[in-house]
Amino acid sequence: MVLAFVLAGASPLEAYLKLGFAQDPDQVLRWGGGPIRYFVGDRDLPGVSGEAFRQAVGRAFASWEAVPTATATFTEVGFTGLSPLSEDGVTTVGFEDVFDFDDRVLAVTSLLTRTGSGEIIEADIAFNAAVAWSTDGQSGFDVEAIALHEIGHLLGLGHSAIGETELRPTGGRRVIASGTAMFPIAFSSGSIEGRRLHADDRAGVSDLYPTPEFQQATGSISGRVQKGGASVVGAHVVAFNMQTETLVGNFSIGSEGRFVVAGLPPGPYLLRVEPLDDADPDSFFQDSDTVDVDFRVGFASQIVTVRAGADAVADLEVVSK
């Protein structure tokens, strides 16, 4: 058995780092059946006791488990004194002192997968112990919100780009607003806005771990993004449900600039396409130098109707900035 360790999502103080999804579009990273068993680190940090940490992490797992159209379930085994990043066949969520990543990293998820099948067999989430944390919405980064994001990676999800940011004068980016727990940049310290899953997150986890009802009840929109006849890679395509006002996104990938936005309940959708300029493209793609960000925000030329169990085709034409 050959195993691969994939670094799957770290969180710089404001920005989460790259994760390990879509290295190979044909290989989906996913757990096998049964509940995902995890241990919780028993360390007490200033302002966050081991017990408060355990509860916050438990709430984040429960949020993912509560998605009615996904089958992923979790079982907390108990506390552990082991380091989360040790490769020990045990899935652990806990604080870590030595952070080899950017010093602005909040947390990191690593996945141990079976090469070939993409089956995840171990995942560890390490929270940077040097960061100020909070579990009660006071000053400090919110453990539950960051855990919610990292558990998305633990499940095999990549980053989503539904969010708006602005550049900070001092460098880096600040989130103005976000519509997904999987946005690569975290809400500010003291914010608990990130504790909630959005339609995009629910579609993502349901796509990976679908209930039979989900597969029957939802459809998709696919197509190509083009600019003057040439394929656009890395365009962020968001499907807006005109009746439920939810947003679900994905990217155009491959040499043909193809996209698929899946897990959409039937209904009328508006497609919006934007360049990947609210975060570093390499927080979304391993091969980020092919990402084209030189085009204006655009919309599909008409409403796209999604049917249950069917794919609706809609091509998008964009123009240079």
Binding site: A177, M242, F299, T305
Partner: protein, 230 residues
């Protein structure tokens, strides 16, 4: 679907004919009336929607609007096929099939990264309905050639996109009135009357394509030719 709908209409009319066979005949009026017409169906707003994100406000839970949309189902030409069965001199029942291709005009405004824009989506709209027609015999004029009537009933609405994908379906109630004018009234033919008909209806929709799931009202106006037989 359309073909299925059409055959249901015919079945309803045949059934109606069977039930009404024992009703007293309306001599010289023609029991079965077939009409084909053209008209317009007025447009109406189908509501708006907002694409919002969660604002990074700390603990306030505020919203950030990415963009807003407003949509309108625009006024369209409508075709109309009607089969009526006269139960008495005053009352008749009717089944109708209406077809229109209204445009959905959608306006996108307030996009944080793009200017306002609008785009059009064509819908095919079918309405199958059943009505009760009350002829206002007391108001007949021009030697009985001009005959006003009131009409009311219920219908079923289907709206499809240009790929024939069902966008919405729903119920629609209607009420209105109009006049029929007999152009030709042969005395000894199986054709009893040939005439023209003009009518206005208020159409109240409970479902159908709508961004806010609200009841919407529109007006339809039709002019048609009819043939009454038997």
């Amino acid at each position: 679907m359309t073909r299925g709908g059409r055959s249901r209409v015919v079945a309803a009319v045949v059934l109606g004919a069977g039930l009404a066979a024992s009703a007293p005949p309306a001599a010289g009026q023609g029991r079965l009336e077939i009409g084909v017409g053209v008209g317009a169906i007025s447009g109406y707003q189908i509501g708006g929607a907002e694409a919002t994100l969660t604002a990074n406000t700390g603990s306030g839970g505020g919203e950030f609007t990415l963009f807003s949309i407003e949509s309108e189902l625009e006024t369209a030409i409508a075709l109309d096929l009607r089969l009526g069965w006269r139960l008495s001199r005053i009352f008749a029942v009717e089944a109708g099939l209406g077809y229109a291709t209204p445009n959905v005009a959608t306006q996108v405004t307030g996009d944080v990264e793009a200017g306002s824009r609008s785009f059009d989506t064509a819908l095919s709209q079918w309405i199958i309905d059943g009505s009760v027609v009350v002829h206002l015999t007391a108001l007949e004029a021009v030697d009985g050639r001009l005959r006003p009537f009131l009409v009311g009933g219920l219908g079923y609405l289907r709206q499809l996109d240009d790929g024939s994908v069902l966008v919405a379906s729903g119920r629609a109630a209607h009420a209105g009135g109009g006049v029929k004018y007999a152009l030709w009234n042969p005395a000894d033919s199986w054709i009893q009357r040939v005439g023209v008909r003009a009518e206005l209806r208020l159409l109240i929709r409970n479902d159908g394509f709508d961004l806010e799931d609200r009841r919407r009202t529109s007006v339809t106006g039709h002019a048609s030719v009819f043939l009454a037989v038997f």
